[in-house]
Symmetry: C2
Subunit: 469 residues, 2 copies
C-alpha cells in the first residue's frame, strides 16, 4: 500500500524531494530561465491545520464530492461550498478497491471504482491480464476518477481514452442506480454510458464498471527517432497516425521537453515510437513505422530495440514522467511556478495553434513572471489531429503565486480557444476550465446537461460548481 500521502503536495510524503534535492532543482531552474530562484520555503505542516468538527445532519443541505485519488489538476474535488449549502461531504471511495469478476473469454473484468492503478494491475495479473492505463497519476488515481474525467492513458493511438475500455458502467444517482447494459456495442439510441463518461461527479457516483482488459504484451518494439525540428517530427507523427499501423507509443518531444525529461537529444526533437502485441512479432510494423519517420527526416541511429533492453530514451522519459508531479510540488516549495496545460486540435490547425500558444504564453510568462520556460510534447495522435501538451516553469513572487498562475493559465486557455483547440484533451473541466468549457460546449447541450442534472440530482448536491452551475 505504501507510505502516507502528502496532504498538500503530490503523492507520497516521503517521496517529496529533500532540501538538498530542492537546492539542486533551484539551480537547474535558474540555468534554464536565467532568473534567481528560492530559497526553499517552509513546508506546510498538517498539525497546524485546524479542521472544524464534522457537523453533517440528515437534513443538512451538504454537497457531496466523490473522492478517488485526489489527483485532479482542475479543481475537480475541491470542497467548494456554494451559497445555500451547509458543509461539504468528501465521499472517499478508497474501500471500493476490488476486481470483482473476470471474464477471460471476452477479456473484461468487473471492477470497483475506488481501485487505484497499481492495485488494479496487481489483481488482474493474478488472471494473466492487464489494463495498461497509465496516466501520470497512475499510482494514486482511481478507475472511477478515470471514467468520471474521461482520462487518457498509455496508448498514443486507438484506445487513447478510458472511454474505449468501458464496456458497461454503474453509477449511483440520487434518483437510483444508473446501470448500462453489458454488451460490446449497441446501436439502440444514444449511448447511455456517454452521459456517465466525463460527468465529473455531477450526476452520480460511479461505483463499478465492466472494463475491457488485455493480455500482457509479449512482443515489444521501440525506437528513438530524432528530427531537426518539432514541425518535421509532427509531420511524421501525423503520417504515423494516419498509417493504420497503430503504434502504442508515438510521443513527440520538443528539445526542451526532451531535456527536462532526461532524454539527451543535442537540440533535436525526439519521437518515442513503440509497438506492442500479445499476439504477434512486430518487425513489419516497426520497419514501416521507421520508413514513415525517415521520409520526414527522422534518424534512428540505434535502430529499433525489442524492448528488453533498458536504459534507452523511452525508459528515461517514463521515469521522469512519473517523477514530474513530485517535481512540481518541489518547485512550488521553491517559489517557482510550474504547471501544465494541454489540448487537442485538427492537424490543419496544429502549426498555427502551436505558434499562437507559444507566443502568447511566453509573452504572459515575461509579463507576469519576468521570465519562464515553455516546452511541448504530443501525447496522443489521431488520424485527424493531435494532442499537444505544454509545461511551463517560471519564477514566482511570494504572495502573488496564485494570481501569476491565473494570468498564465488564462493566456494559455485563451490562446488554445482562439486557435481552435479544445480546453482540455484529458485534464477534465473541474472548476478551473469552466469559463472556456462554457463557451466550447454547444449551448443546447449545456441546457440538456442542466436538465440531466435536474433529473438525476434534483437537490443539486453532487459536486456543485463543476461542469455547470
Amino acid at each position: 500500500v505504501g507510505s502516507a500521502l502528502s496532504f498538500w503536495a503530490w503523492g507520497r510524503a516521503d517521496r517529496f524531494p529533500d532540501l538538498a534535492a530542492r537546492r539542486a532543482l533551484a539551480e537547474q531552474v535558474e540555468f534554464l530561465t536565467g532568473r534567481a530562484v528560492g530559497p526553499p520555503r517552509d513546508l506546510p505542516v498538517a498539525e497546524k491545520v485546524r479542521l472544524p468538527p464534522p457537523r453533517l445532519a440528515e437534513k443538512a443541505r451538504a454537497p457531496v464530492v466523490p473522492f478517488g485519488g485526489g489527483t485532479s489538476v482542475v479543481g475537480g474535488v475541491e470542497p467548494a461550498l456554494p451559497a445555500g449549502f451547509n458543509g461539504v461531504v468528501s465521499l472517499d471511495l478508497g474501500r471500493l478497491d476490488r476486481v470483482l469478476e473476470v471474464d477471460e473469454v471476452s477479456r473484461c473484468a468487473r471492477v470497483q471504482a475506488g481501485i487505484r492503478g497499481p492495485a488494479l494491475e496487481e489483481q488482474l495479473a493474478a488472471h494473466g491480464l492487464t489494463f495498461r492505463h497509465y496516466p501520470q497519476s497512475f499510482e494514486f488515481s482511481t478507475l472511477g476518477g478515470w471514467i468520471a474525467t474521461r482520462a487518457a492513458g498509455h496508448f498514443a493511438t486507438l484506445a487513447t481514452r478510458i472511454d474505449h475500455q468501458v464496456q458497461a458502467v454503474r453509477m449511483l444517482t440520487p434518483r437510483g442506480p444508473y446501470e448500462t447494459p453489458r454488451v460490446p456495442s449497441s446501436g439502440a439510441g444514444p449511448a447511455p454510458q456517454g452521459l456517465v463518461l466525463g460527468s465529473e461527479g455531477t450526476l452520480g457516483v460511479i461505483t463499478e464498471a465492466w472494463m475491457r482488459v488485455l493480455r500482457p504484451p509479449r512482443w515489444r518494439s521501440r525506437a528513438t527517432v530524432f528530427f531537426d525540428g518539432f514541425a518535421a517530427g509532427a509531420h511524421a507523427a501525423r503520417e504515423l497516425a494516419q498509417s493504420g499501423l497503430f503504434p502504442s507509443n508515438c510521443r513527440l518531444l520538443d528539445p526542451g521537453e526532451a531535456l527536462v525529461h532526461g532524454v539527451a537529444t543535442g537540440g533535436a526533437a525526439v519521437l518515442l515510437l513503440g509497438f506492442e502485441s500479445a499476439d504477434h512479432p512486430l518487425d513489419a510494423w516497426m520497419a514501416r513505422g521507421l520508413a514513415v519517420a525517415g521520409a520526414h527526416g527522422g534518424r534512428c541511429p540505434d535502430g529499433p530495440s525489442s524492448g528488453e533492453r533498458t536504459g534507452d530514451a523511452a525508459d528515461a522519459w517514463r521515469d521522469a514522467f512519473f517523477r514530474a508531479p513530485y517535481l512540481q510540488s518541489a518547485l512550488v516549495s521553491l517559489g517557482v511556478l510550474a504547471d501544465t496545460f494541454e489540448t487537442a486540435c485538427t492537424w490543419d490547425r496544429f502549426e498555427s495553434l502551436h505558434e499562437t500558444v507559444v507566443s502568447r504564453v511566453e509573452e504572459a510568462l515575461r509579463l507576469h513572471c519576468g521570465a519562464g520556460l515553455l516546452t511541448c510534447r504530443l501525447t496522443h495522435v489521431y488520424p485527424d489531429g493531435a494532442a499537444p501538451y505544454y509545461t511551463f516553469v517560471a519564477p514566482a513572487r511570494a504572495g502573488a503565486e496564485i494570481e501569476q498562475w491565473r494570468e498564465v493559465k488564462r493566456a494559455a486557455a485563451d490562446a488554445v480557444a482562439a486557435a481552435g483547440g479544445t480546453v482540455t484533451h484529458h485534464h477534465a473541466v473541474g472548476r478551473v476550465h469552466r469559463p472556456w468549457y462554457d463557451r466550447e460546449r454547444p449551448e443546447p447541450f449545456g441546457r440538456v446537461l442542466r436538465a440531466a442534472k435536474e433529473t438525476l440530482d434534483p437537490a443539486g448536491v453532487l459536486n456543485p460548481g463543476v461542469l455547470m452551475e
Copy 2:
C-alpha cells in the same frame, strides 16, 4: 442518379425481379423450406394510391419526420400520427447532397446530411479520398440517417460504427442549432455529439457533419477460410478480434448463410477475412491472420489473394449482399415472409445466445408459419464480443403476414434479450424495437432522454413515438 425508386419495395423500381425471376425464387424457397410458395401476387400500383392534399398551416400541430433514404427497417420514418397532432410533415433532406469542404491534411470533410452513399464517394473521389461506409442500404441511405441511427458499415473491426467517423456534427433543433466543436478528441465533459448519434430524428434534424475520411486502399489481402462448424469459426473470429491485427473484413457465415449468398462451401462455415491499407503491404498481417484461423481448424485451400482477382467468395458475397433487400421485396410479393434481425453480445454469452435464438425462432417459425429457414452470420467482431445477424424466410398466409411477422419478430427479440444481447447492433430502435429498447435502456437514462427532448423540442413535434413517447 438512376431510375425511379419503388414506392413500396426495396430500391429502384426497375431492379425489382420480374415474373420469371420470382417464379425461380419461389422454387428455391420451396426447396429450402419444404413448403409450397406463391403464386406471385399482384404488385401494388402507385396510381391506385390516393393521398389527401397537403393541409399544413403555420399553427398546425404537425409532427416532423426527417427523411433521408427511407431505408429504415424499424419503422423509423413512418408518418405515424400521435393523438393531438394534425397531419405529418415528411422532411426530405435529399437536396442537402454536397461535400462542402475538404481538409486533406486532417483527412476529414464537411458533408451535408442528405447525401447518399454513391454521391458521397463520387465527390470525395475528386479529392483522392473515400469514406468506405457500406451498409446494405448504401445506394439509398444518407449520411444524416447513418448518424441518426448509429449505422454500422464496411469495417468488421475498429471503426465498425459511424460514431468513429464523426468529428463534429450540426443538428438543427426547435431551440436553435446544436453544433459540436471540430476537434479530434476532447475530455471536456460528456461528449456532446453522443446525444446526436442515435437520436433518430427525435431531438433535431442533422444537417451536416465533419466526417473522417480515408485514402483509398492501395493494398488489399483477402482469404476465404472454411471451418467444420460455426462454433469453430466463431472461436477463430474471436481470436482475430482480440489479436490487434484489425482485419477490415472478418465476417463469418454459417452454412445456410453461405449458400443463400452464393458462396459454395459444401456445408462448411466460411470466414471472409480481409485486410486493406493505403500505407503498407499486408503480408505479415494476413500470414498471422491465417495462422490464427488455422489454429482453430480453418482451411484456406486457395491461399490469400491480393484482391485484384475477382470471382472469389468475397465478391459473390458482396454482390448477394446488395441484392438481398430486392429479394426480400420479391419474396414478400410471393407470399413469403423474409426479414432479418441482429444483436451484439459478449463472447462469453455468444454460444448460449446463438443456441437460444436458433431454438426459439425456429420454434416460432414452425408454430406461426408451419416451416421456415433461419441463417446466421457474424457481421462485426470486437475484442469483447460479436454482432450476430440472422435472416429468416418462411411461408406466409395471405392476410396474416403482418401478424405472422410480428410473432416471429417478438420471439427473436425476446430470445435476444433473454440471452443478454442488445435489441439492435445497427438497425436502430425506431418504432419496432421500442418495447425491448425501453427495457434495455437504463431507466434513469430514459428520464434524461425525455428531459433532453423537452429541452430541445418542447412541442414534441420531432418524430414522436420513435425512441420514446
